[in-house]
Amino acid sequence: MSQQQTKNIITLRGSAQIICEYLKFAMNSVLFQRGLYPAETFKAEQHYGITLLLSEDAQIKNFLTNLLTQSEEWIVNKKVSKLSLIILDVANKEVLECWDFKVEYEEGDTALSKERNETVGNKDLKKIQQEIRDVMLQVAATISYLPFLDRRCSFDVLVHAKTDCDIPEQWAEAEPISITNAQNVQLKSFTTSLHKMETVVTYKLFD
């Protein structure tokens, strides 16, 4: 019984790590699916029982690791409410697409938390991964209805943090973005019992 219990415990840090791992794969998947970088710069890897594509580009890798290590800190400290991956036209800085990854904080297992004197959850890791896989498959399927990006595009990640959050080095405040004639598509959400992740894609509908 005790073994079973220890098996299913998810700490706050672990949950944040799961979230950040999901973010990494989701962002890479979006970059691949939306064709922002050439397909040959991506390498296929097996995660969650499906094949995911990760960018081999050093710049992108570096950017994502920096971003996600900082984000993990913030998620642990409950500073972040949302991460937005925006895809914008390089020529005129127009935002064409926005992938919102909303983070909500949940209680987890209160009884167990009291017992262990820290916030913990008790969800099965396999179940979490199953949920993540469902979301990833949905992300891959979005290409069928998202508009074709026929211009030179780049991306940026905006972190919606609380106002009392300190701005670390290499970070700066950005303008909030808005998409004209926007369409929202809510993808499946998943939860680690400590963090709930909702994925929403907003895209500009061309007439």
């Binding site: 950017f63 959050c165 970070w171």
Partner: protein
Amino acid sequence: MAKEGDMSLFNDVLEPFRRVINTDPPKEKLSASLKLNFSDSNQSLKEGLSNLLSLGKRKSSIGMGDVSTPDKRMRTESTSNAGSVPPSPWEAKKMKIDLIAAKAQITRLEARVNHQHTIRKEMQILFEEEKGSLIEQHKRDERALADMEERLQVIRRREQELKDEFSDAVKEHKEMKANWDKDKSELLKQIAELKDKLLEANVSSKDQLSEMKKDMDELLQALEGAQSEVDILKKEVAKQTSRAEQCTSLRTQLEKQTFELQQVTNKLKELEYEKDSYKDWQQQSKTAQKRLSNMAELEKEVTRLRANERSLRDAVCNKLLLEEQVHVLTTKVEALQPVQQKLHDAKVKIASLETALEEWKTAARNHGVENARALSSALEAALTSQLTATAGCSEAQSKLAQLTEEVATAKYERDKTATKLNDLQTVRKNQESLIHRLQKRLLLVTRERDSYRQQLDCYEKELTVTLSGEGGVGGAALAAARVEQLEKSLQAYRDLLASLDQTAHTKQVESLRAEVSKWREEAESLRRDVLKLQAQRDVLQAHLERLHAQPATKVLHMMDNPAAAAQKQIQTDLEAAQEEIKRLTAALREGGNVACPEEMQQLKQQLENSRIKLKRMKEEYTSCAQEYKDVVYMLLGYKIDRTGHNNYRISNMYAESAEEYLTFTLCEDGIEMVQTDYAETLSELVELHLQHHHSIPVFLSALTMNLFTRTTMQQDAHE
């Protein structure tokens, strides 16, 4: 006895069978022997056949006579035996039994005999068949035998013939031998003769040999003489060869000389060419000298040009500086543009303010104030008055508040009273309706009373009528009056009913109206609710917007994100491209020749050289062509001119005038002569050489010969 008799009988009966049985094996043996001896000889076969035939005869006799007859005889015998000896009863019985048994046996035997008959018949048939086949075989064998005999005879004949031949051959051989012996002897004789002859010949040959030897010696001597001659001749040959060598050397020298001559001529040609070129050079040197004379001017020009170039370079430097300045200035201008904008705005503001001030001033003047102090004092006064006014105002407002309160209370009271009034009015209305109803009832009651009264009167009248008398007329009138009365009452009732109906109707209408008004009120209230809710919704929306407008979060991003990098990249690309465009446009404006003057010079020189070369080649070509033409003219006697495309005009060396020429055109399949005036005069030659011989060269040669003879004849005539 009986037994014996039976036995004899038996024997009699059985004998033929035994015979048959005994005869069977020999027959088989015979057939076997037949088969064996079949091919041996004819005689044995014949014997076998005769045996068989005799056997068959015997058998047939046995089958026909011996077997069928004993049966009948037997019975007769048995009966005769029974008659002769008187039997005892026991014997008789036994005899009878025996007889019966014998009879049975007889029958059995008869059957057997029959069976044997059938067997015999079958056998006979078989034998006959075999006999037939054997006869056939025999015939065939006979035939074969005959053939064989014939063959044997033939062979014998042949043998005889061969023997004859052999004897003939032997005879011939003997004859031949004799002949050969004769020949041999003759030959031997001949040999002997020949031997003699040989001996003789040997002797003669020896003589000849000696003669030959003599001859040989003579010949040897001759040979020696000849050899000496040969030596002499050899010497001469050596001499001749030496001479020939000399000749060859001379020839080689000659060749060398000719070669040298050729070389020399080549050299001469080269020298001539060189001379020509030297002439060119001379010309060139002359021009160069001329140019040299112009050198000073050129140098001056060069210095001038250098100065020009320096100035241009300075100008370029200045231009760059200016460009930079322009760039700086443009940036400044860009920086200053907003400032200017601001300035403009400020100016506009000032103007507007001035107008405002002017207005103020005019306003002040209108109020009779000239100075600022006066204005301030006036303002102060105004302010104080305003203060007092405000104080009054506040008092008034407080009073107003009091009054409004009072009004409110009054209103409240008034409302209260109004409600009371309403209540009272409703009560009154109810009462009024009650009164109305009561009045109506009263009316009804009075009318009822009246009707009752009338009825009463009627009854009284009736009573009086009945009491007064029983008159028919009176009675009728009374009835009519009564009817009238009754009708009246009926009418009254009807009216009453109608009035009552009307009231009910009005009541219903009223109730409906009330209902309608109630519904209307309800609708109104609902509308009000809707409005209220809308207002609420608006408020909430505003609230929501407010919440949105005040973000509880701040948006952060990494400074070196890919978008920024891409932006920077595109910016730098753009700048680089623009700079390149600038550079290229500048280069285009300045012109390409500045880029590489050395190369230009080189190319010019090359061009000049190639031009000179071309010129020389042309000269060479023309000179060669002329030479060629001259040679042709001198050698062939015709001057050939090309008058146009594929057209050639030839005129003879010995022609009398320039008009005497022929024209030829070059066709695909050769050359053709064109009709000319001169050609018409040469119809004879044309006919002979062109039409008959089909040869232009012959024609031309003939013409030459013709003309030549003519000219020489003329010359002779002159001489």
